[in-house]
Amino acid sequence: MTLQLLLVEDDAAYAAALADELRGIGHTVTVAGDGRAALTAMNEAAFDAVILDRMMPRLDGMSVLQTLRSGGMTLPVIMLTALSASQDKVEGLEAGADDYVVKPVAASELQARLTAILRGRGWTASSADTLQAGDIVVSPTTFRAWRRGRPIDLAKLELKLLIELVRNADAVLTRAMLIERVWGYDFMPDTNLVDVHIRRLRRKLTEGGDDDPIQTLRGIGYMLRG
């Protein structure tokens, strides 16, 4: 998947490094140094997604986002911020950002989040009561899960984890994304609690002798094969 990305970041060195990384995984990246330059760039060319620094001179990230959304531009926006203050996050998401990450962020993390956003947009929320990925079916409303039609007995957290994996089947979920979405934390615990819960989930999914549907991506995260 090659995306046309606009990276809006006033720290030139950081922007160059991140752009290089993103190009390294196959994307086309345009860099804008401030909010005005970003709006100009978006008038001149079409982008698949915008990575937007929150704090910038000459029109900060929040103003750019508000201008975009009030102008009816719905393209995905990931906000970058230096601090993890949850109030910032709430404001950013309320202003219409699709995701919010704390700097510095690895290209792999951005990639996983971009994929999740783009896939999420394809979902129609009311399409079904259940979600499916391969031979796994989960019901977020009744909190139940099946593999090959056989019910799996899962703890609440394991089920939330599985729902997230199924929803993003064939896409990478980083540990940070899982911590945010399954646990709702805005910090990374020191212990490997994501790995522990994934291990438990894996054990229960493979109890019936089925193969392991969860792939570990070393240093990045996990992916459920669809």
């Binding site: 949850s86 709430v90 700097k103 510095p104 690895a106 910090f187 490997n192 819960h197 070393r218």
Partner: protein, 455 residues
């Protein structure tokens, strides 16, 4: 060695007593001496009136003069006795029981002269073998010596009482002010950099001392803040290169042979610990700005520890620990649930890190007065009382735990979160083990509800 305040006080008191007693004695001697002189001169004069020097008037004339003088108002209190060469009494208005040698002598109660307790006698030869003794009292009335003693005791005693009282009040005042300073110093040592020595507003030496001391503390706090800013800036600037290093390692690991990949994984793990430390530092800095109070809402601690239990019990199980969550009544507070979760997770992670496999970690809530308290107790080795202040300090890792993973910011982070909530973090002895007490101010509405529901 310089004398202490106590021995200085005792020494001063002793010197004061000696000086007082000395002054009293000297005054007494001087008064007695003066009176004796005066009386001596008087009886000598009167004696001369009876018989002038060198005159040989004979006994009858002398006795007649004595009678005249004894009848006069100004010499009526003088006693006279005239004796002949054989010592026989020839006359006079007193009768002496012993013989006085010529010159001055003391007269006492023993001499049994009526109406006289103490006095002076002057004896001289007045020609023809005759001897004349004149006597006068040195006391204006009987028992005057006792009165004098009482005057001295009362006068100097009063001075002594005033000085003693003054010493005690003075000593107490000094001790109280020193104690206030000492309490501040102890609070500062314990990590409460906000504490200052109380200033009474009396504008005295103590106040200027306290103000100087407080200015010093302000300056230290300023320097510490400066240092913290520098370390926060360093942490901030370390994040980007660390993240880049991590992502490089991840890329290399993806294409590496399995045995190399394991080593790279370890390197990624090291990167993650560094990033975690940096994140914790910046998190503390973020909390200390106080901005997070904007997101405060009513939160039930009992529900939170239940959720933390679900999250961490499997983690504890993998490392051979047992995490138990005690059920309890709801404990409502007003706070930032995300931050409190972080504090609780840090507390349990701290217990997991510092106790051996097989240890039990118990989490529970309790209402203690106006506080809602979360207890995280383990039965591990605990922290000795004298090292608890160090454990709360940033990077203040105890010698015993240096070899274990962790960045030394776990407890300081909890303490910062507690301060933001107007609560405090207590470390206590679990006998055995360590007990973390996270005491939050209770939600006022919850307090009302509980009071209202009491029978």
């Amino acid at each position: 060695m310089k004398p202490g305040l106590r021995s200085l006080t005792v020494g001063f008191l002793a010197a004061f007593l000696v000086a007082t007693a000395g002054t009293g004695y000297a005054t007494y001697r001087l008064t007695i001496g003066t009176i004796t002189d005066l009386v001596d001169r008087r009886i000598e004069n009167v004696s001369a009136l009876v018989a002038a020097d060198g005159a040989r008037d004979g006994a009858p004339v002398l006795l007649a003069r004595i009678d005249a003088l004894a009848g006069r108002r100004d010499t009526g209190d003088i006693g006279f006795q005239l004796t002949d060469a054989a010592g026989r009494r020839l006359g006079g208005n007193v009768t002496l029981t012993r013989r006085f040698s010529p010159g001055y002598s003391d007269v006492r109660r023993l001499d049994r002269i009526q109406g006289l307790t103490a006095g002076r006698a002057f004896t001289r030869r007045v020609g023809d073998g005759l001897t004349l003794t004149t006597i006068a009292e040195t006391e204006p009335f009987d028992g005057y010596g006792g009165v004098r003693l009482r005057i001295y005791l009362f006068g100097y005693g009063l001075i002594l009482v005033v000085v003693l009282g003054g010493l005690i009040v003075f000593g107490r005042t000094i001790a109280r002010r020193f104690a206030a300073t000492r309490r501040t110093v102890e609070a500062i040592i314990a990590g409460d950099m906000q504490r200052r020595v109380p200033v009474t507003g009396a504008q005295d030496e103590f106040d200027s001392q306290a103000q100087a001391f407080n200015r010093m503390l302000d300056r230290i706090a300023e320097l510490m803040a400066g240092l913290r800013n520098v370390s926060n800036d360093v942490a901030h600037d370390l994040r980007t290169p660390l993240a880049r290093l991590r992502s490089r390692l991840t890329t290399i690991a993806a294409g590496a042979a399995p045995e190399t990949a394991v080593a790279i994984d370890q390197a990624i793990g090291e990167c993650d610990s560094l990033l975690a430390m940096v994140a914790a530092m910046l998190r503390i800095a973020e909390i200390e700005t106080g901005r997070r109070t904007a997101g405060f809402a009513a939160t039930d601690l009992t529900m939170l520890i239940g959720e933390i239990g679900e999250t961490l019990a499997p983690v504890a199980e993998e490392s051979g620990h047992r995490l138990v969550v005690e059920t309890a009544r709801p404990a409502w507070i007003v706070g930032d649930a995300r931050l409190i979760e972080q504090a609780l997770i840090n507390g349990v992670e701290n217990a997991l890190r510092h106790t051996p496999a097989g240890s039990r970690i118990v989490m529970g809530t309790a209402i203690v007065g106006d506080r809602a308290v979360v207890r995280i107790a383990d039965d591990g080795p605990g922290i000795p009382a004298e090292q608890r202040a160090l454990a709360l300090r940033r990077f203040g890792r105890l010698e015993a735990s240096r070899q274990r993973p962790g960045h030394g910011l776990g407890l300081p982070l909890i303490a910062a979160i507690m301060r933001l909530h107007g609560g405090e973090l207590h470390l206590a002895d679990g006998e055995p083990g360590l007990v973390l007490g996270l005491a939050f101010p209770r939600d006022a509405d919850d307090q009302k509800r509980t009071v209202a529901s009491r029978p």
